[in-house]
Symmetry: C2
Subunit: 183 residues, 2 copies
DNA sequence: ATTATCTATAGATCTATAGATAATGC
DNA sequence: ATTATCTATAGATCTATAGATAATGC
């Protein structure tokens, strides 16, 4: 049956929000059309009238997740706060609401051009936030360079801390990386 | 039909070698039983007589890839050589023969216990190699700590360099991380 | 007799489409 | 009349198993 324009827009948002979480938890290829729509309380058919394909939903859902994640990190007043939050055990343990870059990076090379572009734009957004928090004594070039290296450290540490099967090692990865970034 | 013991062992090795490459290129969940056995010139049925399940093959193939990768990096005489090789464009562009940790880390949290244990053991192996190449002036604790932070940097940089859709940005990630690790 | 491999197939799941339905919005 | 959603289903692909085959290795 048909629903009102507002209701349809609301449904669209609900699928997007659920998808933004599910793709981080299960991966883009691991989150099926059924699971994505069911999590929003709808049947899989509605995905195709709203987004046309799973690929396009994935692209929008990734964008949604990147924006949400960016709003969270924007709250960090200093570089130290940014780093501490990113490398916290809480962030590690909440994949579905955490940084989409860390959650999805490994499978991005196999995704559509649209998804890869959205991902790259999101990564540039993170770099901008980091660059803006780098020491004022540095030139712009140096701040950008530091931001690149810092982002790689952050993402690598989070990804590894989530992957290992030993909580002590996982904590040690986060701690050592934080310490290294403090210098 | 039946084959000789030696031939069977050889077939097993061939599947493992092909799988070690395929899981890095397509991900563990992305590499299907058909593709895995076909790449070794066999039908999918043989996988089940050799390994019992895809999960067990994945575990052994990951181990295989970790050993092969460890042999390559063992050739690096110094920390600087290790880092330069890891962050080289060649390594970035050869996922199927590169570091399995960087290729698979994001999906490891969703894998079986066996796969996660193999992954963690492989990561410890990398840490041992790195620790052994850390400055002699440091205490063992400090060397281990530096190795943890260095590994996170290396893996994060490679994963991001592969994911972004812009070759200049990709190169910049590798360069900035190398520079940061040189200090 | 044992067993590595192949063939055929089961049963689940995946993405996608066609057509029906029913309420909206002109 | 338009259209968001649902239902049913197509067609592909996934992991796994059963049974046949045929050569090994006792």
């Amino acid at each position: 049956m048909r629903v009102s324009k507002e209701k349809a827009a609301e449904n669209r948002e609900r699928i997007l929000k659920a998808a933004a979480r599910l793709i981080r938890e299960r991966g883009i290829s691991g989150a099926g059309v059924d699971a994505l729509t069911e999590a929003a309380g709808m049947t899989h058919g509605s995905l195709y009238s709203q987004f046309g394909s799973k690929e396009r939903l994935a692209e929008e859902a990734l964008g949604h997740a990147l924006v949400a994640s960016g709003k969270t990190t924007a709250g960090a007043a200093t570089l130290d706060q940014y780093i501490s939050g990113y490398l916290s055990p809480e962030h590690r343990d909440q994949v579905g609401q955490g940084c989409p870059v860390a959650a999805l990076a490994c499978e991005i090379p196999r995704q559509s051009t649209g998804v890869r572009e959205t991902f790259t734009a999101g990564l540039r957004g993170m770099l901008r936030q980091l660059t803006g928090r780098m020491g004022a004594g540095l030139k712009q070039r140096q701040r950008e360079e530091k931001a690149l290296a810092t982002l790689a450290s952050l993402v690598g540490a989070l990804v590894l801390a989530r992957a290992v099967n030993d909580s002590e090692l996982s904590d040690a990865i986060l701690r050592a990386t934080k310490k290294r970034l403090d210098t």
